[in-house]
């Protein structure tokens, strides 16, 4: 019945399965949404979408499949060539209506008036005898040359047609590739959380002991290992310069990460990693830590997250002395490689939109250094990055 719709959803990479499709058919069969497009939209949404990040995608697919519309972002009014209307009129109009057209001064006159009124008219119109709109007696409504497929002034139409709720795209904000809030970041970071019972079995498992004792009828002590989040994270944040516009998301990421991981060590750097990093940005010139010490201090099971826009002169990455702030003996790429040699699990999060990455030489370079493990700082990107880290 709605196979095309279902396939279109799959094609748009919405995770729908046959089971959900059958549920939809079953619900239609049970008359949950009987003969109402809105209800059908709501019902299919409830059946087929299981995550709010997919709602927007769903709306778009629904719009295209059921209306044959252009995708909603292209909402401009398109001029209808006069030719088409004429052809259509010939096909659609009855003899009396054609006579009526003649009575109004012929087709050309009619088109002229239509043009004029379209220009004059602002806003939606319903009823009445002059303006173009719905349910009116104006010549421009009564002829019915606006059946399925042709529409005059799509935007105006939008307001009076409740049918197209999916055109509003209200769930755009929830899409996985946009909004980042502290809470969202926390949820994404939680991917990385891995509670594990490590070490020797040293804790008394009281509920287990009581249960075992009661079942056996004699005292049966049970022990268990201590449970804690086993993930350790090293966070490197780029500060200053081109990073300034991204301060807010970085702050959010940082505050979320701080509460999420027990073992979180963070360091700041500028543009690219060199021989020194620092912890307090105000005292970046006086209190620094040697990068080599960082590599020696934290064991290799730490997971490394770099946050930076990776936008700089390529020399800052590949040439000694390329740094804009000081003379560096070794190029940034060498330091990054050193770090990556120690820590197998590392990713680079980039607050710049992914589409622009290829236009910056340094971004490409760093991406190479990281073996493609660069992800956009969006919810989707964060998610991918965390998956990558936990592999």
């Amino acid at each position: 019945m709605f196979i095309d719709f279902f396939l279109a959803l799959r094609h748009a990479r919405l995770p729908v399965s046959l089971r959900e499709y059958l549920t939809l058919i079953e619900a239609m069969d049970a008359g949950v949404a009987a003969y109402d497009v809105d209800d059908f939209y709501y019902l299919s949404r409830a059946c087929l979408v299981k995550d709010e990040t997919n709602l927007d995608k769903f709306d778009r697919v629904f719009g295209t499949v059921f209306k044959g519309l252009e995708p909603p972002e292209d909402g401009e009014t398109v001029e209808i060539p006069e030719e088409w209307l004429r052809k259509l009129a010939e096909r659609e109009l009855t003899e009396e209506e054609k006579a009526l057209v003649e009575a109004l001064g012929g087709w050309d006159k009619l088109m002229e008036t239509l043009q004029k009124r379209l220009e004059e008219q602002r806003g939606r119109h319903q009823g009445g005898a002059k303006w173009i709109g719905t349910a009116g007696t104006s010549p421009f409504g009564a002829f019915g040359y606006n059946p399925e497929g042709i529409r005059i002034g799509q935007e105006k139409n939008r307001h009076n047609r409740a049918v197209k709720v999916w055109d509003k795209r209200e769930f755009q904000n929830l899409s996985g590739d946009v909004e980042l809030g502290t809470r969202n970041i926390k949820v994404a970071l939680r991917r990385l959380r891995r509670f594990a019972r490590e070490g020797a079995a040293s804790e008394l498992d009281l509920p287990g002991t009581i249960d075992a004792t009661a079942r056996q009828g004699y005292l049966d002590l049970r022990m268990m290992r201590e449970r804690h989040n086993a993930v350790k994270v090293l966070l490197f944040l780029d500060v200053g310069g081109s990073m300034d516009p991204h301060v807010r998301v970085c702050e959010e990421l940082f505050s979320a990460a701080r509460t999420e991981f027990k073992h979180l060590e963070y360091f700041y750097f500028h543009n690219c990693l060199y021989e020194r990093v620092w912890r307090d940005n105000r005292r970046r010139t006086s209190e620094t830590t040697a990068t080599i010490d960082v590599l020696h201090t934290y064991p290799h099971d730490y997971k490394v997250i770099f946050v930076g826009d990776a936008a700089m002169s390529p020399y800052e990455v590949i040439h000694p002395g390329g740094s804009v702030e000081h003379w560096n003996e070794e190029p940034g790429a060498v330091w990054l490689q050193r770090l990556l040699d120690v820590y197998a699990h590392a990713v680079w999060l980039n607050p710049v939109e992914e589409a622009w990455w290829d236009y910056t030489a340094s971004t490409k370079l760093l991406r190479q250094v990281f073996g493609g493990r660069m992800f956009p700082l969006t919810l989707g990107g964060l998610d991918q990055a965390m998956r990558r880290l936990s592999k």
Binding site: L43, R45, L174
Partner: protein, 283 residues
């Protein structure tokens, strides 16, 4: 067929929510509800029960809740104690089976509403452990070797705050609804339902102030419906005149009694800072 759900006199349900609820009721599948905190996810189950006139069974999930606890628990400790005291009850293991919420729902005389609240709080395996039970609406009690089958399939409402992702297999069996934050019109209806005799101008000014605050970028926690209702209650109790809520002159960007709306020190600071900038520019 059971009566369909169309909101109640204390709950404003949007059309999409009604369709989702009715689909879940008709097809006897669980309904998974998500949404911003404070948009009425838990209340929904209460209202469905009220609208359909059936009992509500609530199961609040905590991080330590196990799926088994929803079915039944075997109280081995009580049995051991009874055996030492020579109680005759000890010979029947059935005396020590404690019914869980699901069992309660399955054996209810009428078709109840079963609320599984904040399912994402539990362990990641929790939803998977309930798959079969929610699907078939039956489970087996190993200790007594009996199978509990639902008399009536309960209307299951599950809420989630998105703290953990739910497994696909589980999601496939549910209807899903995301409660969107209500727009101004719906909000006015919600307020009217809760405070029918509230001053109309007060509501207008309060809603304006409320949506303005929600629009302030960078808030840690945007105030939601339940906070608005609390705030209105306070405003009415304190008899604040509507005029003081008007934020047109920038000086009043921080509304009176803002403690009900903003639950976070940083957010209050942020608003204060904005008000300050406003004032400076206004000069």
């Amino acid at each position: 067929m059971t009566r369909s759900f169309a909101g109640t006199d204390t709950y404003v349900a949007t059309r999409d929510l009604m369709v989702a609820v009715n689909a879940a009721v008709t097809l006897e599948r669980p309904l998974l509800v998500k949404g911003e905190p404070g948009t009425g996810k838990t209340i929904l189950a209460h209202e469905i029960a009220k609208a359909l006139g059936v009992p509500l069974i609530q199961w609040h999930i905590k991080s330590t809740t196990k799926a088994q606890q929803g079915l039944y628990e075997y109280d081995a400790v009580a049995r051991l104690r009874d055996s030492q005291l020579g109680d005759a009850r000890v010979h029947d293991i059935g005396n020590y089976i404690v019914k869980g919420r699901l069992w309660e729902g399955f054996t209810c005389d009428v078709r109840p509403v079963l609320l599984i609240d904040e399912i994402d709080k539990a362990d990641i395996e929790f939803p998977n452990d309930l798959l079969l039970e929610l699907d078939r609406m039956e489970f087996h009690v190993y200790e007594t070797k009996e199978t509990v089958v639902a008399h009536h399939r309960p209307i299951v409402v599950i809420t989630s705050n998105n703290e953990k992702e739910l497994p696909d297999a589980f999601l496939r069996r549910c209807f899903f609804h995301y409660i969107r934050f209500p727009d101004r019109e719906t909000m006015e209806r919600i307020v009217a339902v809760h405070f029918p005799d509230v001053h109309k101008r007060l509501v207008h000014e309060a809603l304006t102030a409320f949506f303005e605050i929600r629009d302030v970028p960078g808030l840690k926690k945007k105030p939601s419906t339940s906070e608005l209702l609390d705030w209105l209650k306070l405003l009415m109790a304190e008899d604040i005149p509507p005029e003081t809520l008007r934020s047109g002159d920038g000086r009043k960007l921080i509304p009176p009694l803002h403690g009900a709306l903003l639950k976070n020190e940083q957010d209050v600071h942020l608003l204060e800072r904005l008000a300050f900038i406003h004032r400076r520019e206004g000069k």
